[in-house]
């Protein structure tokens, strides 16, 4: 018997019990209890009659850094880090957005040198960063840039380089991060990155 069928059976028994109470029990309070369980059982039965979809988590992707051959591979990993472990997309948008709380990163890889991006990620308070995108006095952004290489995000060196590679590629720039340099930094090994898909997968649960 499937889970849904079992729950439907339980729902029917509960409704039946409620009907029995209303038909044969005289106690007023018990009759109210009977009424309540008919309502609750009925609600469960209706909910069981609509499509049953469970949301399953996506698999955790593991990247073997030693298998990275090209700069594009690195940028591809960087993109996944950008939207997952790096939490960059929590505040930054790529392209104009009403809800972003920090600078738009569209084309940032072309505007800034990789060394500057690295410094912005690891020493975010080194320069004053203000929002000049409106008239009048420039304002501070609502959210402050965290240290990306420290807790709680704590990206490793090679993960930061991967993100920079992604930012450069996304801006149409040639990727200046060298795969060999990244490999040397890591000494080989694995990076664990949660899948980019934050919405999960669904499956029928019938």
């Amino acid at each position: 018997m499937s889970e849904v069928a079992l729950l439907q059976l339980i729902g029917l028994i509960v409704v039946g019990l409620g009907v029995f109470i209303l038909l044969f029990i005289k106690g007023k309070f018990l009759r109210v209890v009977g009424f309540v369980i008919i309502v609750l059982g009925g609600f469960s039965l209706i909910a069981l009659s609509v499509p049953q979809m469970a949301s399953l988590p996506p698999a955790i992707e593991t990247f073997d850094i030693t298998k990275v051959k090209t700069a594009d591979d690195l940028a591809s990993i960087g993109q996944k880090i950008f939207f997952s472990k790096g939490q960059c997309a929590l505040c930054h948008s790529i392209g104009p957005s009403e809800s972003s709380r920090c600078p738009d990163l569209n084309g940032i890889g072309a505007k800034l040198a990789p060394e500057f991006i690295y410094e912005s990620l690891t020493q975010p308070q080194a320069y004053i960063y203000l929002d000049f995108r409106h008239g009048g006095v420039p304002e501070e952004y609502p959210a402050r840039m965290p240290y990306i290489n420290k807790n709680p995000i704590a990206l490793s060196e090679q993960e930061i380089y991967s993100v920079i590679a992604f930012l450069q590629k996304m801006s149409g720039e040639p990727i200046s991060i060298k795969v060999e340099d990244v490999l040397r930094e890591s000494g080989g090994g694995e990076m664990k990155v949660a899948s980019v898909a934050v919405h999960g997968t669904s499956s029928t649960n019938d």
């Binding site: 889970e3 849904v4 729950l7 339980i10 729902g11 509960v14 007023k28 309070f29 109210v32 009424f35 309540v36 369980i37 309502v39 609750l40 059982g41 609600f43 469960s44 209706i46 909910a47 069981l48 609509v50 499509p51 049953q52 979809m53 469970a54 949301s55 399953l56 988590p57 996506p58 955790i60 997952s84 939490q87 997309a89 929590l90 505040c91 009403e98 809800s99 709380r101 975010p124 308070q125 959210a143 402050r144 840039m145 965290p146 240290y147 709680p152 995000i153 949660a194 934050v198 919405h199 999960g200 669904s202 029928t204 649960n205």
Partner: protein
């Protein structure tokens, strides 16, 4: 590594004690306890690395689900009741009608007995979370610790204020009533704090902000100010009033069914009316607060909004529509029964408007419950020309749903106005003009809501969401805020043509009140599941992934069965609490009840006739009904 270090430390320490008189014993004890010490260190290291613990058979998530739901529902009741208990007390104080003061006291009695149970479940929940989700709790403690302190202080203040407020009720009467009212204000102020601080923890999980460097207080404050914090605060504040009102209504409904004497029937009929009134009063603006919350969710993360409204949770909103629809029907039905049974002779004159309202409500409910996409076989889909039915598919979109929800609010509001005006005749010279203006406003407002709804199909979504939906909400709010004072003014000088009779409601009125309370509890459980599931496989969205075996969100049927179980448990718990709280009443039944029975019959001064359920006759100070 750590244990080896410990051994080395001990070895370096040993020669120092060699010269003492107790050196032999010391060495003996150290050697004896050494393994235990080292093992304890290992166990501590191991414990620090535990991310999850499980409970056999029921599972950790299910257990936390049950306990958290009970705590949340109790907390909603405990935080909602003081709001209207305090308002009732003020009404009684200003109008000098003791029955309001008595009612406020009765509400507070229910509150005091539920308060300890709420705290108990809060404690159990905390222990379970620390034990079952140590990694998540360590992270949250690191971020929010200063707010934990603030919460504890608020809790102490709330408890102390509640004790003084409750135990000082009789002592602080007469010229000290002002002080008691001030205590009620403080009680609500601390209750608000108690609600919004934990809300920040839960909303941070759903809409976290990145935390920069700073002091612990700065980090906690940044985390608290996450995008969905205030929308949830406002939504919960209103929802708590609704929950509290309908639960008090259900309590009165059950007591009405169990009533043995006419006096009891009169009193609990009136209390049921007030409970339903409070529930409906809160319910009317609640969809607007929900709309604001969803807007903020979409603005924060479109993917999360899509998961809620168009993803695997889409069918949940059909169930939500059903529950809200039944709640609207139940609340209106209770009003209509009030017109028919409390105001004899009114049933016939209001038959046609009631029928029209029922038809509008049913049609609106049908539209609201129409899904966007239908589950259809290939053959059925080919017949329909797609997954969307050619006619019904039109009703599955947000434009239609926003329109009908506004119309249902409007109808419910008009039911209330109708009840208010039933059995009275306006005597003011400007009454005809006022009624004509109200009629015209209602007609124009209703048509405008429908026109904007239809127009919404032909404009981009962003225009509809930002302008049309907002305009619909504002139109309905405008009608509510103009009609209420106008009707109040009209009723102030109105002549009562039919006297109101309490305690004559049929048995089904008590059941209608219970049904409303069950619907609200189910709704809160359902939307709690929605909010939690919208985080999908994240403990903290995008920040801390759920890596436990319970990282999935269960399907709606399974979840609904759990919600029903939780609702039933909560109803049992509340029944038990109320039973315990009113045990003492039986002992002192005689004089107390005599007083209570007398009070509902006194309606004087024309103050807040809507809450009193009737208006006075002109020139009469006290009206026997």
């Amino acid at each position: 590594m750590k244990s080896r270090g410990t051994v080395e430390n001990l070895q370096s320490w040993l020669p120092k004690v060699k010269h003492s008189s107790l050196s032999g014993w010391s060495v003996f004890w150290v050697l004896l306890l050494l393994p235990a010490f080292v093992w304890a260190q290992d166990a501590a290291t191991q414990a620090m690395s535990v991310e999850y613990r499980d409970i056999p058979w029921i599972g950790s998530r299910n257990l936390v689900w049950i306990v958290a739901q009970q705590h949340l529902l109790l907390a909603g009741f405990v935080l909602g009741v003081p709001i209207f208990a305090w308002i009732c007390e003020i009404v009684g104080w200003r109008s000098k009608e003791p029955r309001y003061d008595k009612l406020a006291k009765e509400f507070t009695k229910l509150l005091t007995s539920a308060y300890a149970t709420t705290a108990l479940f809060g404690g159990i929940l905390l222990f379970l979370l620390i034990g079952l989700y140590p990694k998540l709790m360590a992270y949250l403690s690191d971020v929010f610790f200063p707010s934990f302190i603030a919460y504890c202080i608020l809790f102490l203040l709330e408890t102390a204020t509640l004790y003084i407020y409750w135990y000082g009720w009789d002592a602080l009467q007469g010229n000290k009533k002002g002080l008691h009212i001030f205590l009620g204000f403080l009680l609500n102020l601390f209750a608000l704090g108690i609600m919004i601080v934990p809300n920040s923890w839960a909303t941070f999980q759903a809409s976290p902000v990145v935390l920069g460097d700073g002091t612990a207080i700065e980090r906690a404050w940044t985390a608290m100010q996450n995008p969905t914090w205030w929308p949830v605060n406002i939504h919960r504040l209103i929802a708590n009033v609704v929950l509290g009102g309908f639960i008090c209504g259900a309590y009165a409904g059950v007591r009405y069914l169990l009533a043995q004497t006419k006096e009891e029937k009169d009193h609990y009929d009136w209390m049921g009316y007030v409970g339903n009134f409070i529930g409906v009063f809160g319910m009317l603006p609640l969809p607007f607060a929900g709309y604001w919350l969803m807007r903020e969710v979409y603005q924060y993360n479109q993917q999360m909004g899509i998961t809620l409204m168009g993803g695997f949770l889409a069918w949940l909103f059909i169930l939500q529509a059903m529950l809200i629809g039944v709640l609207f029907l139940g609340a209106n039905y209770y009003f209509w029964m009030g017109i028919a049974y409390r105001i004899p002779g009114s049933a016939q004159s209001y038959k046609r408007p009631i029928l029209a309202m029922l038809v509008v409500l049913m049609v609106c409910l049908g539209v609201w419950m129409t899904p966007h996409s239908l589950v259809a076989s290939l053959a059925e889909a080919q017949l329909m020309g797609g997954t969307h039915h050619p006619l019904l598919g039109v009703f599955g979109v947000m434009s239609a749903k926003m329109t009908v929800s506004n119309l249902m609010i409007l109808v419910t509001f008009m039911s209330f106005i109708m009840y208010w005006r039933a059995g009275k005749q306006e005597t003011a010279a400007w009454a005809k003009v006022a009624k004509a203006v109200m009629g015209a406003l209602l007609a124009i407002g209703g048509i405008a809501v429908v026109v904007l709804g239809v127009w919404g199909y032909f404009v981009p979504a962003i225009i509809r969401i930002n302008y049309f939906s907002v305009a619909q909400v504002l139109i309905v709010l405008f009608i509510m805020v103009t009609f209420t004072p106008l009707t109040a003014l009209l009723m102030k000088s109105a002549k009562t043509t039919t006297e109101m009779v309490w305690g004559q409601m049929p048995i089904r009125a008590g059941y209608a009140l219970v049904l409303n309370a069950v619907m609200v509890i189910l709704l809160m459980s359902l939307m709690g599941y929605a909010r939690s599931s919208s985080r999908v496989h994240w403990h903290i969205y995008g920040v801390m992934r759920d890596t436990s075996e319970y990282a999935y969100s269960p399907a709606l049927g399974y979840a609904a069965a759990f919600m029903s179980l939780n609702t039933f448990l909560f109803c049992l718990l509340v029944s038990f609490i109320f039973w315990v709280a009113t045990m003492g009443d039986k002992v002192k039944k005689g004089p107390e009840q005599g007083q209570a029975a007398e009070d509902p019959t006194k309606i004087s001064g024309g103050v807040t006739p809507a809450m009193a359920g009737g208006a006075p006759r002109v020139g009469e100070e006290t009206l026997k009904i």
